[in-house]
């Protein structure tokens, strides 16, 4: 392990639980526990899994003009974001590429942001510069982040915080859990119902141990987190989206409201508006293999004649699907669900088909 790797507040708990620790985005993180990736993945879809995602960045934006100021940096509609609600968006660059993707919460007198671990340093600097005098940004470095995901997540959390049960999907509340002041979001990265819980770093182990004591809950590592999000069709920053891909190409247009599409006013708006009007040159799609060979990132995608039409950006075995799943970019003319393509796995063409994601239906709380 790199001696400079940062440890999360749950480090000793991970070791106690038999985690295999790996370096990830500058942190020492559990990739799996004794149960293994396959069992952890399936358990999350059947009951509930607890993830340590304390490596992710947490920040607060204050200032009277914070909504307008942040809208100048991303295409999300924050003016339409009601208090206590969360929106997914992307920080864009001047070419319409994605600097990072993030969750923005309207927390009343401030905005609460969750950003990717690998991007957080650059994000904070970019936000500070971009907000100027209209808002101040403060990174919350003394907080941990836990994710509790799965069909039993709400039942479990309600035992400690009854108000969690009635929270709508993509909403936010301040809840007391074992005396700790927690910022609870009904959201996640698995396609299942669940919560993300921001809490003081020095209370994280207590709360984690209490949640793990519930019979439905197992600890889940980054390995299953990746296979769960892949089956759910959710992007991994740095693999599926980056500075070279636009939200239009990444099939994230649903996260840009009509007003923002028409008015623009964010970095790269001209490129994004042009792609919305004329169509993008390529699109992110799901790809389902027709045989058993998993196609990993950078596997070439070809048409039936063997001509390269794109590349896999994330791929592997989907435990709930029971077979390989992938996502990647293809030329727009091949992006229609049902289009027959081939994946060049270690030089051997494997039959596959463009598939409308998610691979496993989302089970978010309705409303």
């Amino acid at each position: 392990m790199n001696p400079d790797s940062i440890r999360t507040p749950l480090h000793s708990l991970h070791l106690e639980l038999g985690a295999k620790m790996v370096p990830f985005a500058g942190y020492e993180m559990p990739v799996q526990y004794a149960t293994g990736v396959l069992a952890e993945h399936l358990h999350t879809r059947q009951a509930a899994g607890l993830f340590d995602v304390s490596h992710m960045g947490q920040a607060i934006i204050r200032g009277a003009d914070r909504v307008q100021a942040l809208e100048r940096l991303l295409p999300g509609d924050l003016q339409a974001l009601a208090e206590g609600r969360i929106r997914y968006s992307q920080l864009t660059n001047d070419q319409g590429g994605i600097r990072d993707d993030l969750m923005v919460t309207n927390a009343g007198d401030h905005l609460f942001l969750i950003v990717n671990a690998a991007c957080k340093g650059a994000d904070i600097a970019h936000l500070k510069a971009g907000l100027g005098k209209a808002g101040t940004i403060e990174e919350l470095t003394d907080r941990a982040l836990l994710a509790l995901q799965g069909p039993e997540a709400a039942t479990v959390l309600a035992r400690l915080a009854p108000d969690a049960l009635s929270m709508p999907f993509m909403s936010y509340r301040c809840l007391d859990i074992l005396g700790a002041a927690c910022l609870v979001s009904r959201s996640g990265y698995t396609g299942e119902d669940g919560f993300e819980i921001s809490l003081p770093a020095d209370r994280a182990e207590d709360v984690a141990r209490r949640l793990l004591a519930e019979p439905e809950v197992l600890p889940i590592g980054l390995g299953a987190r990746d296979s769960l999000r892949l089956e759910a069709g959710l992007c991994l920053y740095g693999s599926d989206i980056d500075e070279e891909t636009t939200p239009v190409e990444a099939a994230l247009v649903w996260s840009i409201s009509k007003r923002r599409r028409e008015q623009g006013g964010f970095p790269g708006a001209a490129v994004i508006q042009r792609q919305l009007r004329d169509g993008p040159p390529r699109l992110r799609v799901g790809i389902k293999s027709l045989d058993k060979a998993p196609a990993r990132a950078h596997t070439p995608i070809t048409d039936k004649a063997g001509q390269i039409i794109g590349e896999v950006t994330s791929g592997g075995f989907g435990p709930s699907v029971g077979g390989p799943v992938a996502m990647g970019y293809v030329q727009t003319s091949f992006a229609k669900a049902g289009t027959a393509v081939e994946l060049l796995v270690r030089g051997t063409p494997r039959e596959a088909v463009v598939f409308e994601m998610p691979f496993v239906p989302h089970h978010y709380r309705k409303i």
């Binding site: 990739v31 990736v37 396959l38 998993p294 990993r296 592997g316 075995f317 390989p324 270690r346």
Partner: protein, 125 residues
């Protein structure tokens, strides 16, 4: 009487005369985690010691299996293609990968016996 040898890449090879059976060690299956896919060499293929002979994939990643010795592939284990999980259950018995007709048995002298391999694995921990 068959004799078993190991490589530093955690393959094993069990030899009877000029016939060899190849698989991966218990240490290897444990490090890989749940195996979900296997790709085996074609029967009749000539492998040189160290050649990439097979691929095993876990949920996490793909790994190569290298041929511990040189020879011609005589047969492959279709059971592990149908049920890759057998590799986690029985890596050093039922879940063999392929058999070889040895072309240079002298290469076996460069491999480790069970005791040397066990010591090698211990040194990795």
């Amino acid at each position: 009487m068959a004799k078993v040898y190991f490589t530093k890449d955690h393959e094993w090879v069990k030899v009877t005369g000029d016939d060899a059976v190849v698989g991966i060690s218990d240490y290897a299956q444990h490090a890989l985690g749940d195996v979900v896919f296997v790709e085996l060499p074609a029967v009749g293929k000539t492998l040189t010691k160290g050649d990439e002979a097979a691929v095993v994939e876990s949920v996490k990643a793909a790994s190569e299996v290298f041929s511990p010795v040189s020879g011609e592939v005589a047969s492959v284990n279709a059971a592990i293609v149908d049920q890759p999980g057998l590799i986690n259950e029985s890596p050093e018995e039922g879940a063999w990968f392929f058999t070889l007709r040895l072309s240079n048995p002298a290469e076996l002298g460069e491999l480790m016996d069970r005791a040397a391999y066990d010591a090698f694995v211990k040194s990795l921990e």
